[in-house]
Amino acid sequence: MQASRARLFKEYKEVQREKAVDSDIQLVCDDSNIFKWTALIKGPSETPYEGGVFQLAFSIPEQYPLLPPQVRFLTKIFHPNVHFKTGEICLDILKNAWSPAWTLQSVCRAIIALMAHPEPDSPLNCDSGNLLRSGDLRGYQSMARMYTRLAAMPKKG
């Protein structure tokens, strides 16, 4: 409990210090609870998510960093490894491949990498996974792009 708090506090300071370095990731800690974080990540370029800003919710267990943070998408996203309704993410480093040496920042980077390289063979979103597995790259991309426009881009007044 105490250790996770201390570690999170240090990560917080690190994030503050490196704010300008990585403009693709914006990590914000909840004002009242250091175990709740949100992140804004930019969709990687040359993917259907380009131009979108996706919000992630972090829920950090008390045993952190021995246990991984729980992360889910708050922004709707059409991706084989993200549950379309709940936003749950299927990513090995958030499960059995977690290492305590990872940080919230590096988790964000891993999620950005997952967006650029979906794994259709372990799908949480079957529609998306099936499109990719059947080789319909255009279908997947146009769906993903549509949802990026609908959910992850600022509305144009």
């Binding site: 250790a3 201390a6 570690r7 240090k10 990560e11 690190e14 490196e18 045993q63 960093p65 021995l66 246990l67 499960k95 059995n96 491949a97 290492s99 305590p100 040496a101 990872w102 940080t103 920042q105 590096s106 980077r109 891993a110």
Partner: protein, 309 residues
């Protein structure tokens, strides 16, 4: 000092002739070179008298050869655009004391240079001298700055070798470059020198770069593997607390990933795998307690996984 000046004056026309041979086609570039060379001479004589002043004040004798040697590389520098506007205040310092010292010698020297320039570069040059003379004072600070920034430019190769299309390749300056220069490693400014530009990069800064622990432990993905290989971290990458002496001598995994004893114990109780390579901490430890406990840890890991996922 007298011998120095004659040597420099003698060597410069040779450089120019060489230049003239190479770039007969490019008149404007040649003119520019002549102009800059003239200013170089002017500056040179000023610095020389200043250097004499310094040595007479009891400064260490190597200081003036140092300066002269750095000036040898000047043709390289003088052509590059003024890259450090922030040194303006510093150059004004230079100007204020050096101009009062040596106005007449510098003028003499400049005339001499022009004469030799005219002979080496055929004719067309002399006409434009007068108007160039007028703006020479305006550019004076820029030249001084370029010279001031020379040691800095040494450390930054891109700044030293600008390749604007206008600027002709200079075999002569390359020859100057080729001179073995022990002095280029030394600095023309001592660290405590009042004239030393603030913007000059510190050598110590460069040395400290690879050792900069802040960056090293920023715990980026992929970074932590490097930590283990490269050096002993100063803080535990898991809890971010400082490592004490026992911790730094503690190497629990063959991959070289270091962490504090406290975190290691906690990992053994929970996951049992090295955070660096994800292999289970095993008999490598040589610790009986750990060996006994190892299967248990795996069990606890699978338990925690099943409850969570």
């Amino acid at each position: 000092m007298g011998s120095d000046s004659t040597m420099n004056v003698a060597s410069a026309p040779a450089l120019l002739k060489d230049m003239g041979k190479k770039k007969r086609a490019n008149r404007s570039a040649k003119l520019k070179q002549c102009k800059l060379d003239a200013r170089r001479e002017q500056w040179l004589s000023q610095v020389k008298s200043k250097g004499g002043k310094e040595s007479s004040e009891g400064g260490s004798s190597p200081s003036s050869p140092l300066r002269l040697n750095s000036e040898r590389h000047e043709p390289l520098i003088s052509l590059e655009p003024r890259s450090r506007p922030e040194e303006a205040e510093d150059s004004s310092l230079h100007d204020s004391d050096s101009e009062s010292l040596t106005n007449s010698p510098s003028n003499d020297c400049r005339k001499e240079r022009h004469a030799s320039c005219g002979s080496s570069s055929s004719g067309s040059y002399s006409g434009s001298v007068s108007e160039e003379e007028e703006d020479s004072l305006d550019d004076w600070e820029a030249i001084a700055d370029a010279l001031n920034s020379e040691p800095a430019a040494r450390t930054e190769p891109p700044a030293v070798l600008p390749t604007p299309p206008k600027c002709p390749p200079k075999p002569t300056s390359m020859g100057v470059e080729g001179i073995p220069r022990p002095t280029s490693n030394c600095r023309a400014w001592r660290p405590d020198d009042a004239f030393r530009p603030q913007s000059l990069p510190n050598l110590s800064k460069q040395h400290s770069f690879p050792m900069n622990s802040e960056r090293q432990f920023s715990s980026r993905p992929g970074n932590w593997t490097r930590i283990g290989i490269m050096s002993t971290p100063s803080s535990c990458p898991i809890c971010y607390e400082d490592l004490d002496r026992t911790d730094t001598s503690f190497l629990p995994c063959l991959c070289g990933f270091r962490l504090c004893l406290f975190c290691h114990k906690k990992i053994l109780e929970a996951d049992g795998r090295c955070p660096g390579c994800r292999k289970p901490y095993g008999p490598v430890e040589g610790d009986v307690g750990v060996n006994v406990g190892a299967p248990l840890f795996r069990l606890s890991r699978s338990c925690s996984m099943s409850t969570r996922y």
